[in-house]
Symmetry: C2
Subunit: 386 residues, 2 copies
């Protein structure tokens, strides 16, 4: 029997065709609105992952990421997976079985760090603050003083589950005092608030493309200090993930070596990241930070006028992510559904213990603009008055 | 000092701007030429990863993948990473520390399976054939007979490093005879040659988007049998990867549950995969297989006329990937460079022990067409006559 007449046991789904995508305004905790230039870059013809032209683009991405992260780290590139893969990459490369990691936890992503530490055989020493509160650098120092066998300090810079900006610089300087290595999650931070990898002395930091960089989700920018790279080279055990093994990956990403195939990079996603980084460079990092801050103040004024209260106290509020208490008597799901279906506007709900209690409003990347603020204020007011 | 006047220690790279992408013809081992409809789908506006419309699309992707894989497995979806992540997902979910996996190795990707088994604490029992030769089901059965403590059989269906199609159905029936679970890599197989997951009784199979599905790289379609899902639920140890833990992921992908956030899916890459699966459905699976086969015969005729010899003997040649010996006296790098720069045509070189010895010509997905065959033949002839 010919292939063409082969009998298929699993039939075609009944209705099949191109999928119409509605045009939303994305003001949740990410993904955020993507600039049309970034979307168009994603549609350019695919290149091979070892094409010299693509390798040139990789080199540009590395340089642009060094600018965004404010680092001279050579091992600065994009993990071929979402921020969750970036977190796993950071932790499984650094931490060997039995090693202790002090993890600052004040939200869902701090908890996720603990899970990752434990799943690679590390021992997590947990320092916890309630969701919505910042981590306290003095408490971290106190713990480091009493637990001398801790080797790493891990924390989330910009907690996406609450909108808290943890005092990253102070946390780093505390860790340095006790000679610990630092793993920092700045998925929601990069591009929206100062992230100064070299100045703060962070050993590994990772981010995401779909927050303040304003590209679609799918890649995780990451940077390893020279000390971290040396530390990983000197491991006694193999990194448990082949896909995320830094030593193998650098054969593909390191320009100083002859490029060797490791995995097939997500070419078109890299086009999008590149274009989003060009947009950031065109604006300038400081102007991007300033814009996020100015727009945050405007939104804060509008939300306050609506009688809404913030979960997080100043100065720990992230300008790119506003967590507000859902007013009593207001139904979370109903409002968010109305915003989505009547206004094509996405905002975020709460996670974990904050589910049903807060909304999370993002003003990230390209989406941090006057139009989104005015629209969101108007739509929210309309829903609350219903 | 205001944010806008902040002093940056790492300056902007000197030349920054949109990156011009050359238009290549991709006839290597993947990525393959992407259909314009797929590229355009990637440029549609980003949706939130929990948007009801995106969830509808996820459901369609699952159904279309079930058709492509010829399976009724509920746990059929796309891993948010390249095929390498799909391989790791398959292995780290199934295999627990100390368990034995018989791995059939006749190329680079079989070797990579061994690495993955070992990195999650499994014990790889290696059955090896030379690169370019197929795996022999009788030898597998012989090994299973003598090694009763083997729990899984893992092999690559379509070996991308050599162009060998391993006898998947016979390998599966041998494994079933000894009641082993089966892990199958069909990164280069899906859509190009019959892949009959339910009929063959495969427990876990994974693929890639950038081969015979003709989408850009970045996602790994995967399918788990009900037996595999139950097996994973009954694990004694946690899956070492949080990112790739099936039990956690199904909270996001399983339509029967309330969707819970696990990670942010690469939305626009999913648009591309969806459109590529719609294209496959419009053509029909059998017609796609038949087209790959017919075009392979045409290319084979042309290459034979040029005096080129195949690495792989029939009936083990993949129609979507042709490995040919580089004629003696011909310089590998020079020809491939000329094809790329003078003809904008990418073909693949050899990997591992075949580096410098073979070329790999892909006719995959949308790229398996008369125009590519004629162009590649013409360009190759021109380079060889130089």
């Amino acid at each position: 029997m010919s292939l063409e007449q082969a009998n298929l046991k699993v039939a075609l789904p009944s209705s099949v065709g191109p999928f119409p995508i509605p045009l939303r305004t994305l003001m949740g905790p990410g993904p955020s609105d993507v600039h049309p230039r970034v979307l168009l870059a994603m549609a350019k013809p695919t290149l091979g992952h070892l094409d010299p032209e693509f390798i040139l683009m990789m080199e540009e991405i590395k340089k642009l990421l060094c600018y965004a992260f404010q680092t001279n780290n050579k091992a600065t590139f994009a993990v071929s997976g979402p921020g969750t893969a970036g977190m796993e990459m950071a932790i499984v490369n650094l931490v060997e079985p039995g090693e202790k990691v002090l993890v600052g936890v004040n939200g869902i992503f701090g908890k996720r760090m603990v899970e990752n530490v434990e799943r690679c055989g590390g021992v997590a020493v947990i320092y916890e603050e309630p969701m919505g509160q910042p981590l306290n650098p003095e408490k971290v120092e106190g713990l480091l003083k009493s637990q001398s066998d801790v080797r790493y300090v891990a924390f989330v810079h910009a907690e996406t589950s609450t909108g808290v900006e943890n005092p990253a610089q102070a946390l780093c300087s505390g860790a340095h005092q006790y000679k610990k290595m630092i793993i920092m999650d700045t998925v929601t931070g990069l591009g929206g608030v100062p992230v100064l990898i070299d100045e703060w002395g962070v050993d590994v930091a990772y981010s995401g493309t779909q927050k303040c960089l304003g590209a679609p989700p799918g890649l995780s920018p990451i940077t390893f200090s020279e000390r971290a790279v040396a530390h990983i080279k000197a491991r006694k055990t193999k990194v448990q993930s082949w896909f995320l093994d830094l030593n193998l990956l650098m054969g593909y990403w390191d320009g100083a070596q002859a490029r060797t195939y490791h995995h097939t990079a997500p070419i078109n996603a890299c086009y999008g990241l590149h274009e989003s980084l060009v947009l950031l460079a065109e604006e300038g990092l400081q102007k991007s930070w300033a814009r996020h801050k100015t727009n945050a103040k405007t939104l804060e004024g509008e939300l306050t006028k609506l009688g809404l209260k913030y979960l997080v106290q100043e100065p720990y509020r992230l300008p790119q992510l506003h967590s507000i208490h859902i007013p009593s008597g207001v139904e979370d799901a109903k409002v968010r559904k109305s915003l989505l279906t009547d206004w094509n506007l996405e905002i975020g709900g709460g996670l974990g213990s904050l589910a049903g209690k807060i909304w999370r409003l993002g003003l990230m990347g390209h989406g941090s603009n006057a139009k989104n603020i005015a629209y969101c204020t108007h739509a929210l007011q309309s829903c609350l008055l219903k």
